[in-house]
């Protein structure tokens, strides 16, 4: 039964008209009858095609809108998958991904920083204040960096800054500027006590291993903590 066709009636009318043509008849009435039948089907086909096309145009429009919406949602999802939702900084996974990509192309300095005594802030002032401190700190980071580098939140109160093509001395100077931007003025969300952070800085040549660079910066950060906090240390 697969020979059933959507245009069965139209095909039959066409076949009959062709039959009349092929017969080469001199009977005018037969031509007229065939023409009338064709005209009727032709008109109907045009009407139906118009309806079908306007329907399909409409469906296409709706599909395009849905596709655009889908693309937008997918972009949002992608953004959320790569960013920390408290600060908008890159999350840990995205930091590591970015770092690997940068190191494929160029040398890079890494700054890791950690808010000093953050657990006490949470314990004494509550987590909402802790969150506000973190947000404010990231704002100050961004302001001090002035568009340079990639900021990520790699842990609860631990952040990293990827500085593509920046030499170690320059990165240390930048870290010092950030340290002052944090410690120099009290945070409005916690006016009774200053917020300070400790910093570790490392440098890698292009093609270097980020896990290693990160470990060296982390070791320097540990030195800064041990050395009394609120300071910048570079890798040994």
């Amino acid at each position: 039964m697969s020979d059933v066709d959507l245009f069965e009636a139209e095909a039959e009318a066409l076949e009959r008209a062709n039959g009349v043509l092929a017969s080469d008849t001199g009977d005018f009435a037969r031509y007229r009858a065939a023409l009338e039948e064709l005209v009727q089907h032709y008109g109907q086909l045009m009407r139906q095609s118009r309806r079908l096309i306007s329907r399909s145009d409409r469906t296409e429009r709706e599909l395009n809108l849905l596709n655009a919406r889908l693309q937008q949602l997918s972009d949002e999802l992608d953004y959320k998958a790569r960013h920390d939702n408290l600060t908008g900084a890159l999350n840990r996974g995205a930091v590591f991904e970015s770092a690997h990509r940068i190191l494929e192309q160029s040398a890079m300095s890494v700054v890791v920083l950690d808010i000093d005594f953050f657990k006490r802030i949470n314990d004494e002032f509550g987590h909402p204040t802790g969150d506000a401190v973190i947000r404010e700190l990231v704002d100050r980071l961004r302001l001090a960096l002035d568009g340079v580098g990639v900021v990520g939140r790699v842990g609860g109160e631990e952040f990293s800054i990827l500085l593509a093509g920046v030499a170690l001395d320059e990165a240390v100077a930048l870290a010092e500027r950030i340290r002052q931007a944090i410690a120099g003025e009290v945070f409005p969300c916690m006016p009774s006590r200053p917020v300070t952070s400790s910093f570790g800085v490392s440098w890698s040549a292009a093609g270097g291993d980020f896990e290693d660079a990160y470990a060296r910066a982390d070791e320097a950060l540990y030195q800064a903590k041990r050395g009394g906090r609120n300071r910048v240390e570079r890798e040994a």
């Binding site: 039964m1 697969s2 059933v4 066709d5 959507l6 069965e8 009636a9 109907q44 009407r47 139906q48 309806r51 079908l52 329907r55 399909s56 409409r58 469906t59």
Partner: protein, 128 residues
């Protein structure tokens, strides 16, 4: 003649043609693999019923939430057959059901009303 009942499937609507009650109902969605075949047989049966004559009224209830282009082409033939019957003197009432939010089906009904003007067309918006 015998009534025609075809249960709904995932891709085809329920067909409930109660010829004895002169009430024909379609309900569901229509995108069968071979729309020409699915609808062709239904339309052939309908035409036999319509040809049996009689000017008694016919009520047609259509509640199709979705139909693809091939089905649309076949539905035109179905409504064409009904329209011819109406033109020959029988009152054919078409009750067109659609979700109140479904503009596509609503507008398709409006177009049918224009194209098959012999039918008595009743639009029914159904709350979802």
């Amino acid at each position: 003649m015998d009534n025609l009942f075809i249960a709904a499937s995932a891709s085809s609507p329920e067909v409930d043609f109660r010829f004895d009650e002169r009430t024909l109902s379609l309900k569901g969605e229509s995108y069968p693999e071979n729309a020409a075949q699915f609808w062709g047989e239904i339309i052939a049966t309908l035409r036999r019923f319509l040809d049996e004559g009689g000017d008694a009224g016919i009520t047609v209830n259509v509640a199709l939430a979705y139909f693809n282009s091939s089905s649309t082409k076949m539905l035109f033939s179905l409504f064409d057959a009904l329209n011819e019957k109406a033109e020959s003197g029988a009152e054919v009432v078409l009750n067109w059901y659609h979700d109140e939010d479904d503009d596509t089906i609503f507008e398709f009904g409006q177009e049918l009303q224009e194209d098959f003007s012999a039918l008595v067309f009743n639009d029914h918006a159904v709350q979802s």
